[in-house]
Symmetry: C2
Subunit: 480 residues, 2 copies
Amino acid sequence: MADNSNKKMVESITSMEEDFAKWYTDVVIKAELASYSGVRGCMIIRPYGTALWENIRNDLDARFKELGHENVMMPLFIPESLLQKEKDHVEGFAPEVAWVTHGGSEELAERLCVRPTSETLFCDHYRDIIHSYRDLPKLYNQWCSVVRWEKTTRPFLRTTEFFWQEGHTMHETAEEAMEETVRMLNVYADFCEQSLAIPVIKGRKTDKEKFAGAEITYTIEAMMHDGKALQSGTSHYFGDGFARAFDIQFTGRDNTLQYPFQTSWGMSTRIIGAIIMTHGDDNGLVLPPAVAPVQLVIIPIAQHKPGVIEAASALRDRLKSVVRVKMDDSDNSAGWKFAEYEMKGVPLRLEIGPRDIENNQCVIVRRDNREKTVVSLDQLEQKIPELLKAVHDGLYKKALERRESMTYTALTMDELIDIASNKPGFIKSMWCGELECENALKEQAGVTSRCMPFEQEHLSDTCVCCGKPAKKMVVWGKAY
Amino acid sequence: MADNSNKKMVESITSMEEDFAKWYTDVVIKAELASYSGVRGCMIIRPYGTALWENIRNDLDARFKELGHENVMMPLFIPESLLQKEKDHVEGFAPEVAWVTHGGSEELAERLCVRPTSETLFCDHYRDIIHSYRDLPKLYNQWCSVVRWEKTTRPFLRTTEFFWQEGHTMHETAEEAMEETVRMLNVYADFCEQSLAIPVIKGRKTDKEKFAGAEITYTIEAMMHDGKALQSGTSHYFGDGFARAFDIQFTGRDNTLQYPFQTSWGMSTRIIGAIIMTHGDDNGLVLPPAVAPVQLVIIPIAQHKPGVIEAASALRDRLKSVVRVKMDDSDNSAGWKFAEYEMKGVPLRLEIGPRDIENNQCVIVRRDNREKTVVSLDQLEQKIPELLKAVHDGLYKKALERRESMTYTALTMDELIDIASNKPGFIKSMWCGELECENALKEQAGVTSRCMPFEQEHLSDTCVCCGKPAKKMVVWGKAY
């Protein structure tokens, strides 16, 4: 028997009902996605979490490259003077950056911050390489980590250092840059829905909620199990503000000097938090098949009986080209293994024992609904992809139904306050566009604007707060 | 005509003969691998350099995973107290780290350094997760950037921030850890020879040259065009020194508490410098096919004539599944394009013009030796891989012959000093093993020990310096 003294049994996870926040950290730690480090606010992303992030990265990266984007690697540090070039940007970020003041034993003449985001570095480089309209567009992206000095941290959701990609593009015209901003938001939305089985609402942020230095911020918002929103990806349109601040100019088609138009867009390891809180259950993690590090785990049943481990190993070797497969022939009991791989969210479990072998079959169990299917061993190459797709579709449908059942409409402030106090979820209402009303909703109902959805509905003519003519339908909620 | 005013013509590269250091930076900048940034000692790795690094990473990563290694992502910062836990290690690194002293506006209670390497972080984590011999081995790796406060920097060779992978493993026995140390050195050597066409000498570092905190450091040493050595990858055996310093203990098979044995190994973006200086020539970069971002570039000849661009585009689409292919139908002249892709080191150039189309053929030109082959369009799928292999073999052979012709044997100190002053390259000689003799060679001949090769030769019985009995044959040289 293996030593499981350090393995917690699945029974010890806090249930969602009892304490959702505790359930979340239990899953993170016990599924071995991440663990705390001795470094303030920084986490260690363990092999299972890293493999998950690598699958996310590879999927997104292929989508970016398909659209002509190229990866670059920019410096980790930003000199203080560079960060200060764009006023709104520095105001937004300076309070939360880590400052390097010494190199070895020498005090630096100018402080360097560890990048909290890299607009300024990209602009500094773009000034050197953009001279003619023929140099445009520049469609750059980088995969890296960034640092923001957070007061309170939670694994994946809010950490001092986090991993992400940041796309930074420059365009000849405002129109082209705006198209790029929306295009990349759609890439994020498609990725969430097609690869993560997470339905998202696409929309525009209010001015209060937009990115420091941006003219327009678009967002995709997902609803977590507890009804709270998680901003899952953002895409920003900057106009030519940074270009002017950084003096980036090019000779246009008409031979005049012009400023290019800029976008940036990012998705981070936060999305792992979204996966956990969208699909997870009281047995642990539930992973969407497209990014699961292990898509199918093979558990030999009565493995001490002759021929069982051999049959299981043969299946593993055979299925390697079909799915990301693992076989567990450790000495742990089958029951322990079932619980372990449920905890880890493996989409499909394949059980094979002596009687199955006799009958040339096996049993496949879905993680999302525990449905069992007896499958002929001759049919696996066809059946497994079908079942993975069924898990994906099942996860997506469940998440969408939950979101729909937890989305409410408020026509008056009283209604809105009542819903916000009693029903977790999203609230749709009309808004006049004024900051005062947005602030009032925060103060009186404790909700913030998640976005002004692209798909607008006409709920009424007037603002839910002030009663003046409404300009937009807004989705409100509490957010991570 | 496209605007090439910002493109330097190939003619403007400094020749190797004239100024090797200048030739090197010319190639880095003009092949658009990297450019200087406004951040002291940090470079911007541009799309072409990043694509090259991604190919290197993917190739190495597959080799690591094949041997059971798993990737993790550790924090960027190391608290000062953690760095100080292992005495030799902190002495080696503390003088060259960047210190974070402030988060936002708050001064930190304890300074954090930006990791110069991550032994201490891995050990801190291993203490938490290694308890039983069943938890061993731990075979972890991470891809990241590290920071060392360098006084003088050169792109890829020595920069304040550089990218690398660092493997960190823990083992039950010293023997197993030593095997791992050698195994990973062999992975590096195989990668250099099979994927980069760079011949390397495998050997052990002298105590003077070993890694801070290691018991044994193994290295692979490559010879650059100018006869200088470039240390291309290292693998370290730590014994249980860090495990004792960090109090990492496990219950062994005999139920006693034991310390595990540790290794670490790394290869960095320096290897891009090795590629440039091993294979490059006066026309620019020459890339080994296995990692070249573009393996074949298609240049339409007389592209204004009907059908030429169509034929070139059709070839590109057809060859996508065979090679990493690019077609350049820009308005630049064919001559300009030839020079441009030679500068960028693309292994094969395919020319196709009206007469070729008529004859159902094309011309393929090798970058390494400019050899032209007329190839039937029906044979491309077979011929291109053959030619790529021929380029690889040609590069490897040329580099090996150069190294052999520039490697000398010295039996006396006078001989060694004479060679070191007059002939760039490697010098083999016998050594007694004493630090004084090693220092004397540095002072009198300006050479350092590159390694004690695994493949030892018996050149004489006595140390080249002191005349006492020799213990090892050493390869000496000047190094980057």
